[in-house]
Point group: C3
Chain length 127, copies 3
Amino acid sequence: MREDAEGKKVLVIQTHGIDTPRRTYSPLFYAMAAASMDMEVLVWFTMDGTSQLKKGAAEKIKLDPESDVTLRTMLERTKEEGVKLYVCQQSMTLFGMTEEDLLDGVEIMGAATIIDLTLGADVVMYF
Amino acid sequence: MREDAEGKKVLVIQTHGIDTPRRTYSPLFYAMAAASMDMEVLVWFTMDGTSQLKKGAAEKIKLDPESDVTLRTMLERTKEEGVKLYVCQQSMTLFGMTEEDLLDGVEIMGAATIIDLTLGADVVMYF
Amino acid sequence: MREDAEGKKVLVIQTHGIDTPRRTYSPLFYAMAAASMDMEVLVWFTMDGTSQLKKGAAEKIKLDPESDVTLRTMLERTKEEGVKLYVCQQSMTLFGMTEEDLLDGVEIMGAATIIDLTLGADVVMYF
């Protein structure tokens, strides 16, 4: 089925953040897997997912204590694979985050945009 | 992309309830955003999501302590936007809720119905 | 709408496990409902969902203390309905599970496979 995957649009929605570390790596892993299959991939952080993108936060999340890899490493690798990262404007407001708090390379978008993006995507994955 | 959105069917599935207040507002917010784009929107409460719909429960959930807005306010606004609210019959049974416990304006449906609804929807959002 | 359902492919993604018992029964219940509608149904266990499939784990999860039904019963019934169970290879590695730990009748698949499966499914449900 791999050939069909090429060029398809994947939208990964991440609603979980640093309070649930075990829910943070895998969505990025799936995003990278899709990118490696030449799909166009976008991760949308909303609700508690926004907490991952606060400067200084992701460095503190590590699933394997014996590894140097942190959630920050995972986020950087995801960007390096060509995956675009977006954050929900309304969730930032709801949870008291400002644009200055945000990691570089993350774009802010409103809720209406995500509705449009889900309509245009070939696959939407919710985590 | 807005024009494409008009008339499309959106199904929002809410599996979280009053034990996780931070997961309760945003799905309703997305539902309202879709409704304001002239989409046909339906929210399906299942699993712990059913707890939001118990009489007297949503009034006690408030994300911003300085605001008068509660989860109950959000649910009422969602209905006012023309969004239909459904609850899963089997989840009500599993978690010991009866029809008398339910807020007004919420319709009870079985699991087979939700399978049908997902097949007929243009977008399904899981929270 | 039932006739339309027949033969359609449903993929249920379960990311929750034995740490959140109340999130374990319903996804299997939906899978069985879809199977009873003559749909082709597959459940993919990833992230903490993998913990359900560890030998000896599901027997200890019971939602109704007065019933003999455990999560293990639910998993067996789901298989009996013809639903196929898959587990994410990378999640097993991440959470320290080996093939020997797995219940019988569960197939191990990689992340790229799940991307392919989501592309080929008529409905994907995320829990």
